[in-house]
Symmetry: C2
């Protein structure tokens, strides 16, 4: 066991020579990319629903088991376009525990985001956390499939239908994941995926809106292009949300590689599960049995009461070892200036679960070429830190 004195935080050599980021990128070989890019520059066709974007829309819809896929510049713009295309006006319930873009997109679409706390086990909203926030102005709910685990599609769908609320999803984490054997992509009125570099399907930057509603799909296709020349449907307002051919080329290559990348992620998740087993107060977030998951997130919760050490100290100690973890989604959205200025914290029952998750949750590196030995070394570091928690905390003096 690596001892306290040997930890890099206290002057030892870092466990890794180079910084190890949370999302190791899954990238095709440059030669495959180059040949596609060369074709694009030969065709002189860079944007405006080009042949690669069209091919991607067909391929991704097929992959997600949904009728329509509409590629866009990035996931945030996808959410903005979807939220506006739904033709609702008023308040939309948004989880307090999510990436800020979920709420930002709702606000850009002219809707009022209202934050709901999440459940401790799922990290997600559910009818019981949404219900206290409903007013006569509530028109919709945006569920977020956090870590790629489904955000209670059955419960939320029934809840929304009973109350005539529009349900849609931020599915940025959830490419390839299933709920009751059905791929995420066709739940709610529409769902939005991310092809950001740190996602399991990597187009460097990019996003996609999916829906089974043909009329909505027409509206989405119209809205993503600002030009009045390509009008498939009458829409409230348009935007430049076009995906470029270069993005589509990368996404198509990444879609080819997706099964292999997910299998590799799954193996890494198993290695983490083994390596972190029975470390007191360190709990790995598990993926549902019998469903497909993309295992792109290796998430632990550190319960200081049992581990004897705060998440933030572990975070700093690992950073010193060049293991650069991430504390998504801290702070909770109710702490952001936009919501704080609107008195978000006073609404409903507050955000005790979000606050706790923001203080205890941490993502560990995965993806790319991260090897079994790397995973084992990271787990060993965490085991050493927790094993020596008392001494470390005494030396550091509590929270960093």
């Amino acid at each position: 066991m690596k001892h306290r004195q040997a930890l890099a935080y206290f002057g030892g050599a870092p466990a890794f020579a180079q910084p190890l980021h949370v999302a190791q990128l899954n990238l095709p070989e440059w030669e495959r990319i180059e040949s596609r890019f060369r074709d694009i520059f030969r065709r002189h066709f860079f944007a405006n629903n080009g042949p690669l974007v069209q091919a991607l829309d067909v391929a991704f819809a097929d992959y997600a088991g949904v009728e329509h896929a509409v590629s866009v510049t990035n996931g945030t713009l996808g959410l903005m376009i979807l939220a506006r295309a739904l033709e609702i006006s008023g308040e939309v319930i948004v989880p307090a525990f999510t990436f800020p873009a979920t709420a930002q997109a709702v606000a850009w679409a002219g809707l009022t985001p209202v934050l709901a706390d999440v459940l401790p086990a799922s990290h997600m909203i559910a009818p019981k956390t949404v219900a206290p926030l409903l007013t006569r102005q509530t028109v919709g709910i945006i569920g977020v499939h956090v870590w790629g685990r489904p955000c209670d599609p059955d419960g939320l769908q029934a809840f929304a239908a009973e109350r005539n609320l529009t349900l849609f999803y931020d599915a940025c984490h959830a490419i390839g994941c299933t709920h009751r054997g059905r791929r995420i992509g066709g739940f709610g009125s529409g769902e939005v995926f991310s092809y950001h570099a740190t996602q399991v399907l990597n187009a460097a930057e990019g996003g996609c809106i999916t829906t089974n509603d043909p009329r909505l799909a027409d509206r989405l296709r119209t809205m993503r292009n600002f030009s009045p020349g390509q009008t498939f449907a009458s829409v409230p307002t348009r935007i430049n949300g076009k995906m470029s051919e270069a993005q589509a080329a990368l996404a198509l290559l990444s879609l080819e590689d997706l099964p292999d990348n997910i299998a590799a992620n799954c193996a890494r998740h198993d290695w983490y599960a083994a390596g972190l087993a029975e470390i007191p107060g360190v709990d790995l977030v598990r993926y549902p049995d019998g469903e497909d998951s993309n295992f792109q997130y290796v998430v632990i919760e550190i319960d200081a009461d049992r581990s004897g050490i705060d998440r933030d100290i572990v975070f700093d100690l690992l950073a010193a070892e060049n293991v650069l973890c991430r504390r998504h989604f801290a702070p909770g959205l109710h702490q952001l200036p936009y919501f704080a200025a609107r008195g978000a914290a006073a609404r409903g029952n507050g955000y005790p679960v979000t606050d706790r998750l923001c203080a205890t949750v941490m993502q560990l590196p995965t993806g790319g070429t991260l090897a079994r030995s790397d995973v084992e070394r990271i787990c060993h570091l965490i085991r050493c830190i927790v094993g020596d928690a008392e001494t470390i905390v005494a030396r550091i003096g509590g929270r960093p």
Copy 2:
């Protein structure tokens, strides 16, 4: 002279074997692009204010003679971010004769676009077209430097200052253009450029916001990235408006080539001026003497009273010859569903000048490798069409 019978519209062989689009693309050689792209993929740094975006922001600010340049995904997002960053709330005057994105961006930013007619000679708004539309809700004016000619910066600045209105600019056409010897980029509170493939500076897709206000620049830099981790200033809401490293690589190469590309455009414009001289009713839009222009737009107005033939017939006849002109900005924004639904046409003095320009203005091909002989052939076609106008119109039967 090519006779009516020989025109492709009437069954002759097209003058050009391949379709000739309005904006022939200015692209660096693939070898230069490939080496930059290879570096990006080697660095694994694709977005998030990377080294190439930072270099571009410095280089473009220097080129435009302005303190701050903030690269963004595209011009529309630039306008949206700028409009929201200005912290105004209410009505903003927008030209009726502009690309729809100008008004769409204002609407996305939560402001109410109110359309102003333009002047016949400049094709742009001016204090006298703006004044009748002012109400107590008016908070700003967005000028558009149409075709890269300056949108009356002196007159609008004085007008806005007197009335305490915020003036900002859509400068998407105006890279490299000057007003009184000063580069566009530093006028109003902020200006927004486009690096779209069809612009003189081509990053396939892209945009940039410029300003001399350091506090506004901080807000813009914060807003373009949705992550709460990079906060330079407190902002109302954020967005994913990041420029990718690939876009920045293309923009930097295009910036290197810009003087040569502008010089080539300038020569083509001179060839057009010579080739179209003294064709009755066909007037070439001229660029201001003693100022820099980018000559990216070769714009003609066809006055049917003098030419004997409508713009739309000329457009169709040229299209048959594989000369694919463009009728920007038809229809006027007041005709778009968004504004029509709001009764835009009833406001102020209506849009007689915009309506006339939308019926008479047309852009001819330029840029890229368009040769002198191509320009001369296009001019010759137009001369033949106008010369034979009476017979053609009789045969077609008026407006197509």
